[in-house]
Symmetry: C2
Subunit: 295 residues, 2 copies
């Protein structure tokens, strides 16, 4: 395994352990909803966002006991968004991370509540004293997270995505949609490390720029894999956008331009890490991994 593979596996293991700890197996009245929350968060996944939190915090030598909590909170937010997006009233997906989706396993009502519970728990974790000794830092994290995932961020992006089924979006519209739907959470994942590490203005700016380009490249590759990948490889339904007649980067640009665009964005993303010198290596390799991933 390369250093990067080790680091990715380590970040995933830290995050899984933190989530396992933060959503304990319960015998109380909340048993059923906690079980559904555990089922969805512990279903595996690349743990890309937790990696970004931990790697960006590592740039500033933030204690892992802080960054792993924030990584867990952000992965819970990501999982809540998947649970709600998969609901019959939304994208109506049965398969996620190779397993039945939360509502298929536990029913719709429990899935809605499991999503609500994960979102709420994420803020409880961020606001908790163990996340950082300084309340200013915890408050800034909560504020930036809420901004990234609210109506002007992730929630608004999912709304746009649903509207994209009725009307063909053009490239600027799809770009805006993806910045809100997936880019904003990737952005706060990188910014979280900067906030925890009390980064200066320029460092913050560079991490934001890195996340910006990485997020869009991630989506371009996702659209390519939706065309090229199999359901078995991806662990989720594929070719859905095409079946729904929805415009994506790939349908609008064609696969070749989409891939070269992704390549360009990854190069740009890596360039933004220059100021971090060698310390930025893992985040550089992560960007290459996003470009070359096959699922």
């Amino acid at each position: 395994m390369s250093n990067f593979d080790v680091a990715l596996a380590e970040a995933a293991a830290l995050t899984d352990a933190a989530m396992d700890d933060l959503i304990p197996i319960s015998d109380g009245p909340e048993k059923q909803v906690m079980e559904a929350m555990r089922y969805s968060v512990l279903a595996g996944g690349k743990r890309l966002r937790p990696f970004l939190v931990i790697a960006s915090a590592d740039l500033f030598s933030v204690s892992r006991s802080c960054s792993e909590r924030v990584a867990a909170a952000i992965e819970m937010v990501h999982t809540y968004s998947l649970i709600h997006d998969d609901l019959p009233a939304m994208d109506d997906d049965d398969l996620r991370r190779g397993k039945p989706t939360c509502h298929v396993k536990y029913g719709e009502a429990t899935a809605i509540l499991a999503g609500d519970g994960l979102l709420t728990l994420a803020f409880e974790i961020i606001a908790g004293e163990e996340t950082h000794v300084r309340a200013e830092v915890r408050c800034e994290l909560a504020l930036e997270l809420a901004r990234a995932i609210g109506p002007q961020g992730m929630v608004g992006g999912q709304m746009l995505d649903l509207m994209a089924e009725d009307r063909n979006f053009d490239v600027p519209e799809i770009t805006r949609l993806q910045r809100m739907k997936t880019g904003a959470l990737i952005g706060i994942s990188c910014l979280a490390g900067a906030i925890l590490g009390k980064a200066n203005k320029n460092q913050r700016h560079m991490l934001k720029a890195y996340a910006h380009d990485l997020g869009l490249a991630f989506q371009l590759i996702d659209d390519l894999l939706d065309i090229e990948g199999s359901e078995e490889e991806m662990g989720k339904a594929v070719n859905k956008d095409k079946a729904a007649g929805k415009a994506t980067f790939v349908t609008l640009l064609g696969p070749e331009r989409a891939r070269s665009q992704a390549k360009l964005l990854i190069q740009q993303a890596i360039k933004h890490l220059d100021i971090f010198g060698e310390k930025g290596n893992l985040m550089r390799v992560l960007a290459e991994f996003v470009e070359l991933r096959r699922k």
Copy 2:
């Protein structure tokens, strides 16, 4: 109008103005979800929780510009819980506050996202600097709110409520369910004032005890009104629990014992306010209002 009526109307007006301001009419991509959020939060209601936030903060002479923001955030959380509880997969209600429910008006997908958006926005407001000059205070508010409304609070209570359809709960079980489902948010509404006002331990304890008794009395009266009230008066479906064969305080205790129990709890709640002297008068009258309310 009595002093109390004026104070109740004033708290509602302050909260409505704050919410109107915090969820602006939007022309951006988030237009549809913001519109659904505005529709549900500005549909009126008693604004009991905002009143409790503002009245408890007034005990400590907290600036209204702080308490009205927290009141708005907590009313948004209450509204998010109503939107999600009303969904077809949950309680399947068509009428709320005398108007079509959010999913009837905007569709299920938008309603799910409007609820998610309101929950997220509530934390954005609480974490924002305008809420309190000290980050410790804002963080404690966010932490206590998250605890009150997560799997061990409101979300867990709604889960129990759904399970109550399949199995007849006894009085201790219904009491636990209600403490989680409605009591926890009423509790944080009163505690919020104490946190904003940096209340001492005894003052906090008394406000928690007041909220505890008030919350349970509120639910007893709610169950009575569900039997006695008309749909027109209540602005929502009535007799639903009976139709679903669900146990309530009234089916278990009978209406007379339920009413005398509520009376006793209100007397207890008022007693907890003794340490606040005359300053506690509005919260005393609020307790009497809860006992005597007709809708």
